[in-house]
Symmetry: D2
Subunit: 371 residues, 4 copies
């Protein structure tokens, strides 16, 4: 008995579009998904661009008109990897058409727009998922389970960071990343550590951030000699109070010269602690105390940590970044077919974006902001 | 213009068969391959098993007769993941049919049989590749380049190891792994560190090994209470002299309780050194000496280390084990289409197997053996 | 020709008093000091206690009257390891007597008192040194030199922490540590990371801290069942702007369950970065970028990093905590004999204490405080 | 009540002589020793040299005649840090005089001479101690206790190494280190990993080594242009069978470019494992297996690991190399005063030297040698 096919429509064909395509292609070889994804249609800025991208990424059809894609009956899931300013209109159209919507982060350019999208999706009852892929790591799920189990006691402190160096060079030009509508280090990668903090410790109650623009100007375009002012942060440090009472801090920094993927944190509890860094994404450090033998234990990802076993039956065979996207797509397909709701949905992505904006406001007002 | 299709015939559908299938599915989304792999046919122990496996892994057809698969005109590449004892007959048939042959390690159950396969393949002029997938790591290619560049000076010493714990429990039953025809820790995983040592430092001239069976008996089958003697090694330590004069040691150990994938080595040169462990597969340690600032530098995999960029345009997004298999398949397809020869071919795999057997002989004779 | 003797008077004989005594005993065997320390006199709470401590620590005489010690002609250097509330009166008396003063941190119970001590010492022209011993690490000196050299470019960010677990247990009783006059995690160990940040990056301009008391009550005394409220912080997170424009954050936490000595930081510059943790006190991580080979280099302490060579002529023989105190004493003796001024002197210790108080005020006012 | 004094006579004033002197000076401030060491007399190559060294190191008297020192009634313990060829005559004289003898390693230039010294000491009943200082590390004692407790099950494998780079440069001249009487990497530092392996796992039964001279010639003296052949090994790899049946390997390498103190090992048992490196001398890695949470735990040295507490009452304050020598001296003084016998005594040091010689013989004969 063959599984039903699920038609995938992808809007956008950049780095993330390619990630989506590859994940949809790979997923049924690794997971027992409820349907076989069929790469049905790809939309891009023009028919021509779309046709070429469709062929390169293995889609059956291409179109320069994303509205045609959203409306197409053969498309069951709309995957949005288009520029941030297009997320809202595409998502609204897809929601109206009753499609499952899979959107890259940030959900939109403002929290207000993200809230409208969220409410529309909830009213329509469609399945939504936003691509905070680092949450898919089996080690992160394990961390959440350990916290929930009480094995580290009551959580007291959080210290987190997402630091990379892709904007460290002052000659990296302006792009959507430096667009004040959704851009900046805090919005771009701070959102990852915020989403992970929420996933592990729940909502934040109050924040106070210090945002800083390190490079005052950048070239207006790749190769341009003309420079324009930068209006977004390169580096933000923030204080946090969670609703649970836990206090902590986080940093978002895309000019961290020495770092390529320091999405890392330590969570301290009254009886133990956990530590993680995406730079060693197949490891979780768990501290437990036995007289004379206490210390951090380096737990290595393995079949005991679902869904690692979907990729390999033995421990020690590490997962990579692209595998996280495959896990994301597997959870999306399950939810699409009526399985458990996947997270982060639009609501959760809106909450992350609200937190980013609260931090930005606290920077402007130089005081704490309640969420 | 569409690329030509390349028909894949897979014999075997266990863990490694599944790896092959997934890699062939994924490769054209990641690499600019000369042809699109078409999952044409899968052979297994019976028609029924094969039909089910074909569907699960995405192959068009299944067959209980591997000879039919090898002979099928729609099959261009024969991928062998069947039990070790079948490697030789399948490969010989595929070579006779002029097919490209992609075989899992070990090439055969004895070096003598491996040599026959090698000579047949060379006489027929077919493309061959043996699945020593850890060699595909961009960090290993980088290590080889650094050694060749002379940046660490003249190499003086090697210290290597492949240690895992999958046979540490004395109640793990007998299987093909404990079959004296190709089994044992040295043959099973020692072959990986031997192939890597050869890839980096060239052939060995003399060896002296000490093989030890830790668990004298194992259950005859999964769940069996009856136990039978073990005739293969659980742990081997060996001394090595390379043809270049470099001396060193290696360990193969599948009862290394604390290790899941310690495929690791340090290579010392007169001016620097390199160190690697598969447990941190996205890192290479390079030592260089500057007065007061010498030390190991942790180089992290990134787009500067091909073919990392095929997976991700930014550093810090780690590759995983399954990605190595995709790289292997990309190199295979290129060679199949007339591109550069891929390595390790049958000849190289035979040399690895010869080295394993020389170590086993040196253990028996309690003296050095020249290769 | 024998060196002159330098008479040492020690007030206090707890853990730190013992450290001082041992450092004075050891220093001339390791450093070419200008004079041989003579353990002349020890003062404690009573004549009897002092006599016993003097014998245990190798001092010639004991006294229950610290004023007698300060006034004694045979005492050239007054070392203060008494309770914090006594630092001011002892130091003022020693300054008045023209003695060199070596005081443990914090300099006093308030910044105002610390300023009075500073001004008295400066007016009298006496040599002062405050025991921020972690600054004595050769790796910290190396870090400072690298920053000053411009090798990491212009500094852009700081992320620091001092986290230990000695107060993690809610049943650790009240003591001088929880006395609001100078107590709390921020004052007790936050002062170390503040002093180190200042040593490396200069003064801070503005701060905003969030102080939290995790354990609301503690036993009134060791073994007591009665509990009293805790008025000081167990954990503080703070935002920082340095005068140079560098921004960053720090954490002080004495309830960090998993940490024993995480006095650590990362300093990012436009061209490189440095990272350090006291948990690997013999290492400094230096990031430098070479295409395809960039990464952190682990520099290990060795003779190239003075005064490491005073302890051992070869690299790899690690220094320990007590060695840092010996280095401190060697610098003190040199300054006492007219050599280069040692740091941190009272002025610098006052600045650290001012910074601590500014952070406490910012916590109370819930806003930024300028220094 | 004052403790009795114990007169120390030191022969030799190089790096190790200085270490001894400093340890004797420091020990009573840190340990509750049965007597106060009195630095009584130092012997060196001439009266003049000895007088200067005595003053620099704090000894009361100097002499050019070590026989006078050995015979002096005020000398209770004879500490030997003289050139290796002098160990035997000095030790025999000290034994004859009934003195406690504290000798640096190697005990003598041949195992035969070492055995004579051992038998003489045993016949005379004097206390002896040989300076394998790395054994004094509290983490090594902890490792031994864990192994003895059975917590890692039955030991199955050993993999050890002592690698440094002090002879990596071919222009490091000849010295006592390259003298075939006791020289070479195996004798010089291989003896440390052999002594540690014996301390943890007991005696070896059979060995097979491969010794290699990397640099065929070296300058005859510091700064000399003339070069002479090198007759000792720069690097040795060896296979080992312990009496217990455990098998393993070790490496001794003083031309390991990237290493300053890689005295390291992993010991695997049927239920767990231990790992250590002197490069992180305040840590012991202990692997234990709990489903889904197994891994190496990094145990950090602290007061739970005697005699760490003698140096510091809190964990996280690391010990350094020189502290190990203080521990050694504390154990020596206790044994001198009739306390528990200290180890390694002459007998144990002879066994280490025998093992070194067996490895050298196995290299010459190219076969296994039984001990």
């Amino acid at each position: 008995m063959n599984k039903p096919e699920i038609g995938i429509g992808l809007v956008g064909s950049g780095f993330m579009g390619r990630c989506h395509a590859n994940a949809f292609r790979a997923v049924s070889g690794l997971f027992d998904v409820p349907g076989e994804p069929r790469l049905e249609m790809l939309a891009d800025a023009s028919d021509d661009l779309a046709a070429r991208a469709a062929q390169a990424l293995g889609f059956a059809r291409g179109t320069g008109d994303w509205q045609a894609l959203v409306a197409d009956d053969a498309v069951d899931i709309v995957a949005i990897t288009a520029p941030n300013v297009l997320h809202a209109p595409i998502a609204h159209a897809a929601i109206k058409a009753g499609k499952t919507v899979y959107c890259e982060k940030p959900l939109s350019t403002t929290a207000a727009l993200a809230l409208e999208m969220t409410e529309a999706a909830e009213a329509a009852g469609v399945v939504t998922l936003v691509g905070f892929n680092f949450l898919r790591n089996p080690m992160i799920k394990l961390a959440r389970e350990i916290i929930a189990s009480g094995d580290i006691g009551e959580v007291t402190g959080f210290r987190g960071r997402h630091a990379e160096n892709y904007m460290a060079d002052p000659d990296v030009p302006h792009s959507f990343r430096t667009d004040p509508r959704g851009g900046g280090a805090l919005a771009d990668i701070g959102s990852h550590i915020i989403s992970m903090a929420r996933y592990l410790l729940g909502p934040m109650a109050e924040v106070q951030a210090d945002c800083r623009t390190i490079h005052a100007t950048r070239p207006t375009a790749p190769g341009a000699t003309e420079r324009a002012p930068v209006e977004v942060d390169d580096m933000t440090h923030a204080l946090i109070r969670f609703e649970s009472g836990v206090s902590g801090s986080l940093e978002a920094n895309w000019a961290a010269t020495a770092r390529t993927m320091d999405l890392s944190w330590e969570i301290t509890g009254t009886k133990g602690a956990l530590a993680f860094s995406q730079e060693q994404m197949n490891e979780l450090q768990l501290w437990s105390g036995t007289a004379g033998r206490s210390g951090y234990t380096r737990i290595e990802a393995g079949p005991a940590h679902p869904p690692y076993g979907a990729f390999c039956p033995a421990p020690g065979h590490h997962l990579g970044f692209n595998d996280l996207k495959v896990i994301e797509v597997a959870e999306l397909l399950a939810a699409h077919a009526g399985g458990p709701a996947c997270t982060p949905d639009f609501r959760e992505a809106y909450e992350v974006q609200s937190t980013v904006e609260a931090m930005q406001k606290s920077n402007a007002s130089r005081g704490w902001i309640s969420l």
